[in-house]
């Protein structure tokens, strides 16, 4: 029991217990965040650098607020604008930053595996804030926390993940996490946006939305990137909306108390109907954002404890 990881690179490396420990701690941060004094000293004295090689507003803001509330010195680096343009390699950038002795490195990169590569080269704890179409572990964890709070459990639920599964790191991390916690996962979407042999991950695959949603406890919608709507993967945004966009009629096939989730940012009228997104009885999209900060605080807190224990030469005292 306990959280042993040095980095948070993906859900793949986490044990069921580690996920529970992290979510339990995140609950405490939810309470802290709802109070008027939002500060803790968990990361006091530590330096957190957010390296985003791909544009992001929400995730970066969430990590920044999480770090600041825990007392870390937080620095944001917009990497698209800097050294990469000058031809510096990822590893050189990592080594340069490493020399500044950060304690937590939060990294988003457009290529799968890039964060793993970087983690091999630095001494600090690395958090994956999304790599290519590989993993986005904090998103899956915040989704799990949201589900657990709404459903009072995180097992034996039927979760339908809908949309562009192929290009989605959110989907992959969620498939892994929900599977590890013993839920039924369904994937719903056009075959052109479904990864090859995904059925071998212990999920059910549907291309009909109504069949896929039938009896679901959770409906998780994914964002469809604009550049994929041009006829290459689907004929058009409007045909996509007709067949896979979440509207009241399609949602009626899910359980009556099914919740609707979306990692944001949403394309209203493409993958989700605006009124569903705003329906406070069904949509938990705003809660997801709130849970995001708490989960990231918990993740950084746990990694910092392990980092401090390792630096004190006492790996036994890990979180």
């Amino acid at each position: 029991m306990g959280f042993h990881a040095k980095h948070l690179l993906g859900i793949e490396q986490l044990e069921q217990d580690e996920i529970r420990v992290l979510l339990d701690l995140a609950e405490r941060y939810v309470s802290l965040n709802r109070g008027t004094r939002k500060h803790s000293s968990a990361l006091e004295g530590l330096t957190q650098i957010n390296m985003f090689f791909e544009a992001s507003t929400r995730t970066q803001a969430s990590f920044e607020i999480a770090g600041k509330r825990l007392g870390a010195d937080v620095m944001n680096m917009a990497m698209q604008a800097s050294s990469i343009r000058k031809g510096e390699t990822l590893i050189d950038t990592a080594l340069t930053l490493n020399a500044m002795h950060p304690d937590l490195l939060v990294v988003r990169h457009p290529h799968s595996g890039a964060v793993n590569l970087l983690a091999e080269k630095v001494n600090c704890a690395v958090l994956n804030a999304g790599d290519g179409r590989h993993e986005h572990p904090t998103q899956a964890l915040l989704d799990a926390l949201t589900i657990r709070r709404e459903k009072d459990r995180l097992q034996r639920l039927t979760v339908a993940i809908c949309g562009d599964i192929a290009h989605s790191r959110v989907a992959r991390s969620n498939i892994l996490l929900l599977g590890k916690m013993e839920n039924r996962v369904r994937l719903v979407g056009p075959p052109t946006l479904m990864p090859a042999r995904i059925g071998e991950f212990g999920v059910e695959v549907f291309d009909d939305m109504r069949e896929g949603l039938a009896g679901a406890d959770v409906v998780m919608m994914l964002r469809l990137q604009k550049e994929r709507m041009d006829g290459a993967f689907i004929p058009s945004a409007r045909e996509y909306y007709h067949r896979w966009g979440l509207d009241a009629e399609k949602l009626s096939h899910a359980k009556d108390d099914a919740i609707v989730m979306h990692p944001g940012p949403m394309n209203r009228g493409v993958e989700i109907d605006g009124t569903i997104a705003d329906d406070i009885n069904r949509s938990v999209i705003q809660e997801q954002v709130e849970m995001g900060v708490a989960v990231r605080m918990a993740a950084m807190d746990l990694l910092a404890r392990n980092l401090r224990a390792a630096k004190a030469g006492n790996p036994e005292r890990m979180a």
Partner: protein
């Protein structure tokens, strides 16, 4: 100079057994082969006791990339030659995918000169099929053939335009020139870094279906039938492609096929946590595909094993998987890796050397690849069992991008002869 090698286990690709025996070298050629202890009193200038180790015709490796001209920091004729000698490769057939491509008699002449002064092994050169390997205009196939090009290939660049490719084949046919391609459907494989399937989906890598190879091969075979050209499908890697190949062979087309050693000994799971030294083109396949290739080799449907030696420097590999360069060095690991198939009981040693030596020599019109009197004295003496752990920094290639770093291997080259000259001898420990 006459050299008598005695007490050897003879690996004759034309035979089935591996009898003990002796080989007499006279000058540049094999003078005699005795599949029994050599008779007393044979006059020789030198005598080598093989200590019961295997003696086989040297390997003829088709598709070696030496990075001259253009990227000599990755591999030169000198470093590649030393690596080949240490790997038991007595003939390197080089690829034209250099910078610039070897697509004119002038560039061919340059590499021929470089090869002659710098490398101790035999070297033949292949030339590009189209100018700049761009798939638009055919090269001067006649002039290049006269200048010594043994085959024509655009390597991993598929000639997308079917009309261009069919004309190249038809023209090559008139010169009896061999055309080599790495079949692949260019549309499906664009941007792919892995083989589609569970592993690629888990790792989130852009992937290509193995069917893309079948599509490419079926197109090429159709055009080979249409034109009657001599066609070699190299770098095959998938089970899906094999039925088409079998049909073409049964129909009597002048078609041969090759596989690279990595697709016979590794699978996609070896990529593990985005290890870029395992990034190849085509990408590593499933274990089922690997086994299908091993079987096809055993039954002779696949003719040739090559190293597909592709040097890449550290910089081009130390990148996120999608961005990293493809390819692996293989000159020094080809034999020990191929011996994995022997040790696993998939193939006999004579059959292995049919694919490593005899078949590629025949394909290129060379007299080597045989353990018979009159054949060139290109020989490799190796200890088939000797275990070792590969250390990439001890490779002689300038580039160290091997997927076998740290791997346990069996089989060490003890000596290599080219044209009767001892060009490599393993240092005692």
């Amino acid at each position: 100079m006459r050299i008598l090698i005695t007490n050897a286990r003879l690996i004759d690709p034309e035979a089935n057994g591996t009898p003990p025996g002796a080989v007499l070298i006279d000058g540049e050629r094999i003078a005699d082969v005795f599949d029994r202890p050599a008779p007393e009193g044979i006059p020789a200038d030198a005598h080598l006791d093989a200590g019961g180790n295997c003696l086989a015709p040297g390997i003829v490796d088709i598709g070696v990339k030496v990075c001259e001209p253009g990227e000599r920091h990755k591999e030169s004729y000198r470093s590649a030659g030393a690596a080949a000698a240490a790997g038991g490769i007595t003939t390197m057939v080089t690829r034209p995918d250099t910078l610039p491509a070897i697509d004119s008699p002038e560039t061919l002449e340059f590499v021929t000169r470089r090869a002659a002064v710098a490398a101790p092994v035999n070297i033949c050169h292949m030339a590009a099929l189209t100018r700049g390997r761009a798939g638009q205009e055919m090269v001067e196939i006649g002039f290049l053939k006269d200048a010594g090009a043994v085959a024509f290939t655009d390597c991993d660049q598929v000639t997308e335009d079917t009309r261009v490719f069919s004309r190249c084949l038809a023209y090559a046919r008139s010169l009896d020139a061999l055309v080599i391609a790495h079949p692949q459907d260019p549309g499906l494989s664009r941007g792919a870094a892995a083989t589609s399937g569970k592993f690629a989906s888990l790792r989130g890598l852009p992937a290509v279906s193995p069917m893309a190879e079948r599509l490419g091969l079926e197109r090429d075979l159709t055009l080979a039938e249409m034109t009657g050209a001599r066609y070699h499908a190299d770098n095959l890697s998938t089970a899906a492609a094999l039925p088409a190949l079998r049909r073409a062979r049964e129909a009597g087309l002048s078609v041969t096929a090759g596989v690279n050693i990595h697709h016979l000994t590794l699978n996609e799971l070896d990529i593990g946590d985005y290890r870029t030294f395992f990034k190849l083109k085509p990408p590593l396949r499933s274990e089922d595909d690997r086994m299908a290739m091993v079987e096809a080799l055993g039954e002779g449907l696949i003719d040739v094993i090559s190293s597909m030696h592709t040097p890449q420097d550290e910089e081009s590999k130390r990148l996120p998987y999608e961005e990293a360069a493809s390819g692996a060095v293989g000159l020094e690991t080809l034999l020990p890796a191929a011996l994995r198939l022997y040790h696993a009981g998939h193939i006999t040693l004579p059959a292995l050397f049919r694919a490593l030596s005899r078949n590629p020599a025949r394909l290129m019109g060379l007299a080597s690849g045989r353990l018979a009197s009159g054949a060139p004295a290109d020989l490799v003496l190796f200890d088939v069992d000797a275990p070792f752990v590969l250390d990439r920094f001890r490779l002689r290639s300038k580039s160290k991008n091997t997927p076998f770093d740290g791997a346990r291997m069996q089989g060490r080259v003890l000596a290599t002869f080219v044209g009767g000259k001892l060009i490599f001898r393993k240092e005692p420990h």
